[in-house]
Symmetry: C4
Subunit: 206 residues, 4 copies
């Protein structure tokens, strides 16, 4: 049996390009106030109306950055891009591409549960593909590239963290709407705790 492999540099460049375009397009969804609006409202009010837009932009930008960093870390351990990894990566990027839409919809319907749930599910699905990719790389590379068990468990913990937080946020939104919108902060807190724990473990391994 022959296995087709793909140019890793192109796959990585392509992924970086998609991330950078998505993260930059987020700003296009923030409506620029027209001259009519600026005439009618005070500038403070104009900015206040855009608070949901800025929250959406910053959260989506930072969460995308987290996924991008995870991608950099994982790809370091990939020796060969197989057809399977390529397609997992393509579906991962497809869900990333949805982000400017789901961010803008969530921001427009800031007080509604539906758009926020859609946004959370979008982020959770990205997280699911991230988890699948992490698993795939660990088992296919089979520790040959230095992706040792403790590192795998570390990256898996991070991936599961993101996934759980967004599923939780989606579930909470019907019962505790304001709390649901704050949950993403735990993403960074829990990741900080995960990182501390695994850094300790790594020192023991060495």
């Amino acid at each position: 049996m022959i296995q087709e492999t793909y140019d890793k540099a192109r796959v990585v460049n392509f992924s970086d390009a998609v991330f950078s375009i998505v993260m930059t397009l987020l700003i296009l969804e923030v409506g620029v106030p027209s001259i009519a609006t600026l005439n009618k409202l005070s500038f403070g009010a104009v900015l206040a109306n855009r608070i949901p837009d800025f929250i959406g932009l910053v959260v989506s930008f930072l969460v995308s950055a987290l996924y991008w960093i995870g991608h950099i870390k994982l790809m370091k351990f990939v020796s060969v891009v197989t057809g399977k990894l390529l397609w997992i990566n393509i579906f991962f990027l497809l869900t990333i591409v949805l982000l400017p839409f789901s961010t803008a919809m969530y921001v427009n319907g800031f007080d509604y549960p539906g758009p926020f749930m859609f946004y959370c599910i979008n982020l959770a699905v990205i997280g699911a593909f991230n988890l699948i990719m992490t698993r795939y790389v660990y088992y296919s590379e089979n520790k040959k590239t230095g992706f040792i068990r403790v590192l795998y468990r570390w990256y898996r913990a991070r991936a599961i963290n993101v996934l759980i937080i967004w599923v939780l946020a989606a579930l909470c939104t019907l019962v505790f709407p304001m709390f649901a919108r704050m949950i993403f902060v735990f993403l960074f807190v829990v990741q900080f705790l995960i990182d501390r724990r695994f850094k300790k473990k790594m020192t023991l391994v060495e």
Copy 2:
């Protein structure tokens, strides 16, 4: 006679950039529901109205990904980018760039035959340039880079598959509109069969 040659890395990077921008821009054509719409309709209805948009996005994204993967495979066998290859690639990218437009038009006029035919023809023309490029690389590289006959026939079969499927879809749309919209599924089925057949052939060659 001197032959001008071009920096392959730049041509490849440029192509990757165009693919990634086109595939990301597809999301910009999905209309974000305004607050007025969210007030009036249930969120389920809002999403249901966007089903054609999501179908268009996913089909165009995945078909673009197929063409991109084909580009990666083909470029592996290119030792030197000649002026001719450069221009074939530029026309190939020009037709790729049309995709966000033809996708959005097809999605807006989901029930009309015209926009869908335009969409199919766009994809078929991309396929035609893909086929031309495959042929050109095979004959100009003349097997020096490992692009052996059986591989060429494999890639050509894939390229012809895409081309035929979209021409068929364009033709069917007037007679069997719903069937025409489903034909693209065969793209993946037929490609699976082609791949299985040629993988067997490749093993015999080795």
Copy 3:
């Protein structure tokens, strides 16, 4: 005296990225017909209304491609990116970035002389920076990188060709509007003649 130099790979990647984004954004300026338009007009009429858009897209795409190819050729002879070259390149890219705007304005006001003149002047200014960059590279690299006199004269002839054609088109638009819109075809014809002449010269040099 110390001379600051810059990472050539980054400057080249950045330029490629700007070119690819500009060439892809051109499609965003082609208005997608709404469902209302598709209901009212025949699909043939819908497409016919977009003929100026497609002309604008194709001309701008191909002329940008010409400038991009020129950039690839020129950069091959750059050993070191000086501050001066960096800034010439930045102004060159600034005028490239204007292209989606001037194309869209020309297309909207297809029958007016003003927008077309603006478009031609935009393209002529890009050509002027191209010429300046070609001169700068020739004199600063001083033939050390193989940028011999005959090659320089070849590239300069191409750069002057583009510049003259667009200045001519701008001037003609008031007197022979339709002819002015066709002049760009000469771009490719004259370049073909230039290439043939200098290819002969190059053979004599070798």
Copy 4:
């Protein structure tokens, strides 16, 4: 303790991509005149109405280019991308991404103080992250990569220059609105003086 490090090439490519997309998106904010506008107004008037747009485009493009050049210079001295540097860079890019929005808002409300102050603050915050990044690289690399004290002071002077100019412009806008809009010219003048002074110093060092 282990320190996580990141693929420098990907971080640099990603940053270049964000810069190039932001600088190209600036043109999307310049409104293309409709056929109705072109019918009603003379072409001179159409262009005159866009003078603020062109000023905004050119200033934002050139200031972004300055930051990008600073990024190239700084990254040359980075041997290893640590998690901290990665996150400083991500926040730096987040503020860059805001630029098309703040430029468009400033241009729409050209005669109002608020939008211009927002624009200046945006640019000053970019400058602040630039300064933080410069400091971080100097102290973490600890001169190992040739980032000597005099060079650090040079780059810091440039970073502080940009920061001060934009804070000053923000402050001036309430008292001397027209002068505030001109201050950015000093950016280039003061930088020229800084460069001359430090080039002299560098010669003494060698």
